[in-house]
């Protein structure tokens, strides 16, 4: 019963939202090229169904690849900052400065350096935009590890590597996944940014742009919905990983 209600409430909210959207477009009598209505979307999806499959895949793999590199590089940077004061003092201002640059401005820069390397550019952007939260969270997680945690193993003569694997790494996992949830959203933005701006791009961003070029508003809105769906999938993939690897950090319900 309560499960039914748990599903019914958000479902009703979505239906109400779509209804309102449909009503506003209908009441204002907006034509298709001004604002699409929900009922325009299924035909748009059907018409471009193979494009949607192909472009979603493009966007997905490049986002995941960029995020994967961000995880590796961010973790390594975080480890450097977490273990070495000198590395922290040296890297932190650089990272903060780099993070302060709005990443949209990097798109033309990257496009100029690596002309025509669309896949590479897209993955690179997804990486550049998303590694910062991971680096910071791992760095802070490691550097704020209470000395006692280290000492219970260090007093037995355990090596730094052992202490890292057995204590420091698992202990920072909750912070790491918190950052990863932010990063996955950022990487997704990075991918789309490049896809939309690149002249001969691929992916959902490029499909969006072709909709714009052709004045196909239903297609553009359909892409937005597809992006939302993909974003949700990516986000919940991280949530599932978090449950598996850092589920212990969730307080049992009292």
């Amino acid at each position: 019963m309560s499960a039914l209600r748990a599903a019914a409430v958000p479902l009703a909210a979505i239906v109400a939202f779509l209804g309102l959207w449909e009503f506003i477009v209908w009441a204002n009598d907006w034509p298709n090229y001004k604002m699409a209505s929900p009922s325009d979307l299924p035909p748009a999806f059907w018409k471009f169904r193979w494009f949607f499959v192909e472009m979603s895949w493009q966007t997905l793999w490049r986002t995941v690849a960029g995020l994967g590199i961000a995880v590796v590089a961010g973790t390594l940077l975080g480890m450097a900052m977490g273990f070495s004061r000198i590395a922290r003092d040296a890297l932190y201002p650089l990272l903060v400065g780099f993070n302060a640059i709005p990443k949209a401005t990097l798109v033309p820069v990257i496009a100029l350096i690596f002309i025509g390397q669309h896949d590479f550019n897209t993955v690179l952007m997804a990486f550049l935009i998303s590694f910062f939260p991971i680096a910071v969270s791992v760095g802070i997680g490691l550097s704020t590890l209470e000395p006692e945690y280290r000492d219970i193993l260090r007093s037995l003569g355990a090596s730094r590597v052992t202490i890292f694997w057995k204590i420091a790494l698992p202990k920072t996992l909750p912070e790491f996944f918190g950052a990863l949830k932010v990063s996955v959203t950022l990487a997704f933005i990075g991918t789309n940014l490049v896809e939309i701006v690149s002249p001969h791009g691929r992916g959902l961003g490029a499909l969006f742009k072709s909709g714009e070029t052709n004045g196909d508003y239903p297609l553009m809105f359909a892409v937005l919905i597809a992006l939302a769906a993909l974003g949700i999938v990516l986000y919940y993939a991280v949530v599932v990983l978090e449950r598996i690897f850092a589920g212990w950090a969730e307080r049992p319900a009292q």
């Binding site: 209470e146 219970i152 193993l153 007093s155 355990a158 698992p170 202990k171």
Partner: protein
């Protein structure tokens, strides 16, 4: 009986931004094998520093720390440590937490054997049935019990405890004292217990060492002659009152205030 722990003329200073901070000065402590040595002293006098030196986590500027006839230069597998913070690893069950030192010290020991050893210890401290719980499901006192099990699971010959009961309420603390005696009866180890509770020092210690204020030296050594078996009621006998009184006075001196001065104010 040979001294299992021998601290000879240990002097240590921390290098801080404001210059060297002398913490220990010419400290001498000797603990015979199997004995329980309680250390009290004003807060900030260098007690935790002392535990880190005995554990080999640091080396003193001058002087020597000997364990089992060997000069301590680095950490050794025959030491167990427990802190005020029980530092349970939340991603492991209670049993897996207790096993942790065995994974370092005896990596080849069969898993079943490790678990049997850990379960036996948990049962000894009254945690039978909690093996597969998460540490977050345990009370503070239970976590500290589990932490004690972890400190001795690899049968260390030296157990070093830094105010392990300091954060517990008075009744839980008394329970833990009794657990400590139960453990000592079953497991042979030589112990150093840092505490700020004088009753705890008398109830658990074979000797109580009072450190002076920073930089700490051995100010007073008291042999504990506990009246009868180690029962809590014994703490309320005249003998114990007398010992507590002496310790109280010594602490006052260590804090830089003498008794006469306080009596007049």
């Amino acid at each position: 009986m040979a001294n299992l722990i021998e601290i000879k003329g240990v002097t240590h200073a921390y290098r801080t931004a404001a210059g060297p901070l002398p913490v220990l000065e010419n400290l001498d402590i000797a603990v015979p094998e199997g004995e329980f040595c309680a250390v009290v002293g004003p807060s900030g006098c260098g007690k935790s520093t002392l535990t880190r030196l005995v554990a080999g986590l640091m080396r003193p500027d001058r002087g020597e720390v000997w364990l089992h006839g060997e000069l301590v230069r680095s950490p050794r597998k025959t030491v167990g440590m427990a802190f005020q913070n029980p530092v349970m690893l939340e991603w492991r069950t209670v049993l897996q937490n207790v096993i942790l030192p065995l994974e370092i010290v005896a990596p080849t020991m069969p898993r079943a054997e490790k678990e049997a050893r850990a379960s036996a210890l948990l049962a000894l401290v009254g945690l039978a049935g909690f093996e597969h719980k998460r540490p977050s499901e345990l009370s503070g006192g239970m976590r500290q019990r589990a932490s004690l099990c972890r400190a001795i699971v690899h049968r260390p010959d030296v157990l070093i405890m830094d105010e392990p009961f300091g954060a517990l309420d008075a009744f839980t603390r008394e329970d833990l004292w009794q657990t400590m005696h139960a453990l000592r009866a079953k497991e042979p180890f030589t112990a150093v217990l840092i505490t700020h509770d004088l009753r705890e020092a008398v109830y658990l210690g074979d000797q109580v060492i009072v450190l002076s204020g920073r930089p700490a030296t051995t100010q007073h050594i008291m042999r504990v002659n506990y009246p009868g078996p180690r029962l809590l009621d014994g703490l309320y006998t005249p003998e114990c009152s007398e010992m507590l009184h002496v310790l109280r006075d010594q602490i006052r001196i260590a804090q830089g205030r003498d008794t006469t001065e306080e009596a007049t104010t």
